[in-house]
């Protein structure tokens, strides 16, 4: 199991999508937008927004394509003839992807904290890490479900865009939605990506009550995503 985890980690680190979408783009976006806007309250907003975006792009979008590739090449068929139980394989691979997501998010946070002087305590780092792990787990499990719906890379591209774009645009990742109509605010309330942002921001500010609410919502999201992933794997 450790071998599968290690090799998955190595393969993930070589993934060019990871480098661009989950490391370079979030770090570049944090720095450019942060310095452009130049307001202290925006520094935390843009840093957490880019962290969350990096997690979403890696733990969901990149893994959808990886999983689709594995399905199409018959990896899951092959696993049926090996003694390794499918859940153990999935746990190992998912574990590596979740760790990569966490590392990407922490890289963006480090750059944001250094460049914009964001104060972080050990407690807030732990709170942020928990939120990142829960969200990454949820997105990875969701990617198992979505990859099961797609037969080609073109379909995967459409599906991932159809999911990530509303999640990103219907959130306060990069702009405030205080002035938005009531129905938009309702959608934002049901957006798991927004709860990832809320969790990150309350983690940085050390607001444990808000953080606990975000964690609870992310756990529910994780449960739903796990259910969908298991259903998808069983049906295939």
């Amino acid at each position: 199991m450790n071998t599968i985890f290690d090799l998955s980690l190595k393969a993930a680190a070589r993934e060019p999508f990871l480098l661009f979408w989950s490391i370079l783009m979030p770090i570049g976006g944090t720095l450019i937008l942060g310095f452009l806007v130049g307001k202290p309250d925006y520094f935390i907003k843009i840093t957490t927004g880019m962290m969350a975006m990096g997690i979403l792009f890696y733990a969901f979008t990149t893994t959808v394509f990886s999983l689709l590739g594995q399905r199409r090449r018959g990896v899951y068929q092959l696993l049926k003839v090996t003694p390794l139980p499918l859940p153990r394989y999935i746990m190992s691979v998912s574990g590596a992807w979740i760790l990569v997501s966490l590392i990407c998010a922490l890289l963006v946070l480090t750059v944001g904290a250094v460049c914009f002087d964001i104060a972080l305590t050990i407690a807030s780092l732990v709170m942020i890490a928990i939120v990142c792990i829960l969200a990454a787990m949820g997105y990875v499990f969701l990617s198992f479900f979505v990859s099961g719906l797609c037969k080609t890379e073109a379909q995967a591209s459409i599906a991932t865009n159809l999911i990530t774009m509303p999640l990103l645009l219907g959130s306060e990742a990069f702009y405030a939605l205080d002035a938005a109509p009531g129905w938009v605010k309702m959608i934002v309330l049901m957006n798991p990506f927004q709860w990832l942002l809320n969790g990150l921001r309350s983690g940085i500010s050390g607001n444990s009550q808000d953080w606990a609410v975000s964690v609870a919502v992310l756990v529910i999201f994780l449960g739903v995503a796990l259910f969908l992933a298991v259903a998808s794997l069983k049906s295939s």
Binding site: Q70, R73, K80, L84
Partner: protein, 232 residues
């Protein structure tokens, strides 16, 4: 002793019976060839014997409960893991069979597959012949008692076919049981102890090569193949 026994196996696809109630067994120590034209159900039969596909009726029994740990299977296209080198694929397949390979063992395995210089090359970028050899390598990382190879030499040039045949011979020398599917009679003649001919989802004849040639009153295996796949 029979390692695997399939009884009255039936498989339907899209309301068409592609496997029509076949019985077959794989005996310990033999090299068994499953022969027939494309589309007669060889791969479906193999998939049912391996448990990849459930038969619509009939049953498959194995010589031991933990049989999966003692079978190595190469499907028609071995799903090498994308982004992984040949070495890493060997290590990963080892892990799938609960076998941790040392660097020395991996190097030896690469040498057995004549891939000493390709260890760091991504497996999906190897030539077809190299991929087929690596496929046998990853299939046998755990020294299985039974090796199942679905058309191991399909689409290969004569040199690559020769290398694959040598690898299968080597498995037999190690007392490993081999089931392989093929429609190359030269390969079958050189390798197999027993033949099963399939046509239209049925077994049309089976036995030792010499006995089958005599029984069917033909000159050689090629004529036997033509006769058995023509008359059904």
């Amino acid at each position: 002793m029979n390692l695997i026994e399939g009884k009255k196996l039936v498989k339907n696809f899209n309301n068409k019976q592609v496997i029509q109630g076949i019985d077959l067994e794989i005996k310990q120590g033999e090299i068994l060839a499953l022969i027939g034209p494309n589309g007669v159900g060889k791969s479906t039969t193999i998939a049912m014997l391996l448990g990849i596909l459930a038969p619509d009726s009939g049953s498959v029994s194995y010589w031991r409960d933990d049989y999966k740990a003692h079978i190595g299977a190469q499907l028609q296209s071995t799903p090498f893991f994308e982004g992984y080198s040949a070495k890493e694929n060997l290590r990963l397949f080892g892990a799938l069979y609960h076998t941790n390979l040392s660097d020395k063992q991996i190097d030896q395995k690469l040498a057995d597959c004549h891939l000493e210089d390709a260890g760091k090359t991504p497996a999906v970028k190897l030539s077809i012949g190299q991929q087929k050899r690596l496929a046998i390598g990853v299939t046998t990382v755990h020294h299985p008692e039974l090796v199942v190879l679905d058309e191991p030499t399909a689409g290969l040039d004569p040199r690559s076919r020769h290398e694959i045949k040598a690898m299968i011979d080597c498995l037999a020398d190690n007392n490993q049981t081999v089931l392989f599917s093929s429609h190359d009679m030269e390969e079958v003649e050189k390798l197999a102890d027993r033949l099963i001919f399939m046509n239209h989802g049925k077994i049309v004849d089976q036995g030792q090569p010499g006995a089958l040639i005599k029984k069917n009153q033909v000159k050689n295996l090629e004529m036997l193949y033509l006769k058995l796949t023509e008359t059904n």
